[in-house]
């Protein structure tokens, strides 16, 4: 009798166990996205929400690791000789339709980039240094660059390789964006392949049976765009989804206490900064300066930096979901200086002294522009900075507005100072330096987001030298020096680095990424 009961119990346990394991195996992954991609065409719009999906369907030639170091993907190895780069491609790689991948597909892919019509943000950005691409044999590719191009590999990592066989078509670009949005020609070598896209509702991927790497974890990956943060949290709490991007900072303490959930916080490459308009004439929104622009005086800029209590902003405004910044990119990313790893401490007393030395013992008035809703808690951060500046006598009028209006005004120098954010997508220091603090030069594409009239010829020279240096060690040293130069001149005031946050069910693992992308291939089930 007893033994029968025991057997029954045992078999029930075994059945139960089998039941759960088969359940686990059949489980699909559902991810709630913060924003829906604008297109499935991997060359239409260089936007994080698009790129994170194309990275899952496609592979680039090379990828970059955590520290922006290039690592092999579809290219197994490479050599560089002056302006000529030779790539050995990975043998035996197949597209998700079973056709083989060859150098010819790369040539097709690169040729398609400039032909995509109406691209709101073109991938030509990443091919600007490429002069020609040539398939030497099916597994050898030769790229000739216009001059030395140390950032070539980082740039190539942004271009997913399409299939010539599948993406060719009658239009100049082959398969059009609209066709690719339907999945027509959307064939890559990546771990998952496209199944369907119902706009606004869901995007479905499934495992690519021909994937060259280790077998992907999930049979199916379902992405649901849920733009409202509270609704994303609700969907996770209700168990509808396994993982959500970017839970609101206000909800984090509560989510962290929830035993059924896990939170992943990862430092991001996005810095939030204050730009100071250093034009010769008095900038908009400034008064009480006798027709001069005090922001041209380094002592005044230093005073404004010292007035800001970065730690307090991170703790009170950002709810701890940020890291105080002393540089434009967090140490130890490529080209960042160790001496700038710590954010400067606040010292209002010294700030007041510096202001007095500069001839403004009673301060002056500035405007501080800020977008409302572009970056995490952007408006509250601007208000906090304004009150800190007011404490050293710099009266600050905060002007916040919806992002589209803000960018328009910023690009016409409508503020004396403004709050901005910059994501160094390539993960190395040259990226923020080139865009934010180099002298604005339309023709060379330098200082594209330097809307502060900052100009330092010595710094320009250093950064341009770095952009021509192929030796990684040397380049890193030059960039470290350039970063130190910009920071000690208070060219721009970094406030904090945003942390990227993911919330997921207890049994889901995702390590997070500094580029804020959610890649299904890196999401696993806890064993």
């Amino acid at each position: 009798m007893k033994s029968i009961r025991k057997t029954l119990l045992l078999s029930a346990l075994v059945l139960g166990f089998l039941g759960t394991t088969s359940l686990v195996q059949a489980r699909d992954l559902t991810v709630a996205l913060r924003s829906e991609p604008t297109s499935m065409d991997p060359q239409f719009h260089a936007l994080t929400s698009n790129i994170q999906l194309s990275e899952t369907i496609f592979d680039p030639l090379v990828r970059t690791d955590k520290n922006a170091k290039p690592i092999p993907a579809l290219a197994k190895s490479w050599t560089v000789n002056g302006n000529v780069w030779t790539f050995k491609l990975r043998p035996g790689v197949k597209f998700s339709d079973g056709s083989p991948f060859t150098a010819d597909d790369v040539v097709f892919t690169f040729a398609r980039v400039p032909k995509v019509p109406n691209s709101p943000s073109s991938f030509t950005l990443y091919l600007s240094k490429v002069a020609s691409v040539e398939a030497v044999d099916p597994l050898t590719l030769k790229i000739t660059t216009k001059g030395p191009a140390p950032v070539l590999l980082a740039n190539l990592s942004q271009i997913p390789i399409m299939s010539r066989k599948n993406a060719s078509g009658p239009a100049p670009e082959g398969k059009t964006t609209v066709e690719l949005n339907r999945g027509d020609g959307l064939v890559g070598t990546g771990p998952y392949k496209f199944v369907s896209w119902q706009r606004g509702a869901k995007i479905v991927f499934e495992r690519n049976p021909y994937y060259w790497g280790p077998k992907p974890e999930w049979d199916k990956v379902i992405y649901r765009p849920i733009s409202n943060p509270a609704s994303r949290v609700a969907a996770l709490l209700a168990g509808d989804v396994d993982l959500i991007e970017d839970p609101p900072t206000d909800d984090l303490p509560r989510l962290m206490k929830d035993k059924k959930l896990r939170i992943q916080e990862t430092p991001s490459v996005r810095v939030i900064y204050i730009a100071l308009n250093q034009s010769k004439s008095v900038p908009a929104g400034m008064s009480g300066t006798d027709g001069k622009n005090p922001l041209q005086d380094k002592r005044v800029r230093e005073a404004l930096s010292l007035a800001i209590n970065r730690k307090a902003i991170v703790a009170r405004i950002m709810g701890g979901v940020a890291k105080p910044a002393g540089n434009l990119l967090a140490y130890p990313a490529f080209g960042t200086s160790k001496s700038l790893a710590q954010a400067p401490a606040a010292d209002p007393a010294k700030a007041k002294k510096l202001l007095a030395q500069a001839g403004y013992p009673h301060g002056f008035t500035v405007s501080l522009g800020s977008p409302d809703g572009r970056y995490t808690n952007d408006k509250s951060t601007a208000l906090a900075v304004a009150s800190m500046w007011a404490r050293i006598g710099v009266k600050t009028n905060v002007e916040t507005m919806t992002p589209s209006v803000f960018f328009q005004k910023r690009n016409t120098y409508a503020f004396s100072t403004y709050l901005g954010g910059w994501a160094a997508t390539s993960g190395e220091m040259i990226n923020p330096l080139k865009s934010l603090v180099l002298t604005r030069n339309k023709d060379l594409g330098l200082g594209t987001t330097n809307w502060a009239n900052y100009s330092n010829p010595a710094l320009d020279k250093l950064v341009i030298e770095a952009s021509r240096t192929l030796d990684d060690n040397k380049r890193s040293q030059i960039l470290q020096k350039a970063g130190e130069m910009a920071m000690s001149d208070y060219a721009i005031l970094p406030l904090h680095f945003e942390l990227s946050v993911w919330a997921m069910k207890k049994d889901i693992r995702y390590g997070g990424r500094s580029d804020q992308m959610t890649l299904a291939q890196n999401i696993t089930l806890a064993k």
């Binding site: 604008t38 297109s39 065409d41 239409f44 719009h45 260089a46 936007l47 019509p117 109406n118 691209s119 709101p120 943000s121 073109s122 030509t124 950005l125 964006t177 609209v178 949005n181 119902q198 706009r199 606004g200 509702a201 869901k202 649901r224 765009p225 849920i226 733009s227 409202n228 509270a230 609704s231 609700a234 969907a235 709490l237 209700a238 168990g239 509808d240 919806t402 992002p403 589209s404 209006v405 960018f407 328009q408 690009n411 910059w422 994501a423 997508t425 990226n431 865009s435 339309k442 023709d443 594409g445 594209t448 987001t449």
Partner: protein, 325 residues
Amino acid sequence: MVLSAIIRRLLQTVLVVLVMSALVFIGLYMIGDPVNMLASPEATQAQRELIRQSLGLNLPLWEQYFIFLSKAVHLDFGNSFLTGEPAMHLILQRMPATLELATVAMFLSMVLGIPLGIYAGLKPDSLAARSIMGGSVLGFSLPNFWVGLMLIMLFAVTLGWVPAGGRGPVVSFGPIQLSILTWAGLKSIVLPASTIAVAKCALIIRVTRAATRECLPLDYIKFARAKGLSERRVLGVHLLKNILIPIITIGGLEYGQVFAFAVVTETVFSWPGMGKLLIDSIVNLDRPVVVAYLMLAVVFLAFLNLAVDIAYTILDPRVRLGGQA
């Protein structure tokens, strides 16, 4: 007579569409430059100019508007800046979801609102009537998104009866896809439809009650009662027919409102309808989509009004279409 009135309505609609599209063009132009929202922050000036040219934004505004009009005549409303797809196509793709949500929501509000309203009108001093009216005040003063989130917290998160958002599996009838025909679909639509219905139902209750109170003392009701007709017939035929006119007016307009601007509910429930598309497009200054959307909304509302007017003439022979009685 009826035909000329309809034609006049159509001409009015065309005029409204024209004025509206011009206003939207100027309005979005003043808000900002779409290229700032679209281009990668790393893009150089030359690349920005290229985008501007390919989208036709380098032309003077009046010329852009003229090109838009000449294409719109051929029912080409331009391509979305953001997705490169035809704007009208994007909207029509999402219309069935919104239409379904609006219809279910209005159906719920009517089915609940009219009987409750009549009851409150018949026995205005009863405790039940007072609670109905109290509830209705609450119903339309509670903010939409709050009601939605509360429903989600209660029924999806705490009780786990229904999903927290999204639309269920759909059944296709040609181009139209309906989710209410599947069990999972029904479960998904209950919360968003109820969220909209809370406010709309409150309105219907108040209108119905007022109309009932107005009609009850009138002679024909007294006469019907004197004739010894059953209460059911008095209410169900004589009263209902007469109070329907204000209800249809309000109901029709509200239906149009829900259809065209279910934005908040769609956002809270991540319902894949057109309202969410509108908000995203405004934020990104995706002008072709915003213009096409509002044109569609104007046309839809105009037709809805016309349908309401025609319904009048059927319900009340004294009313003539075109206002020339």
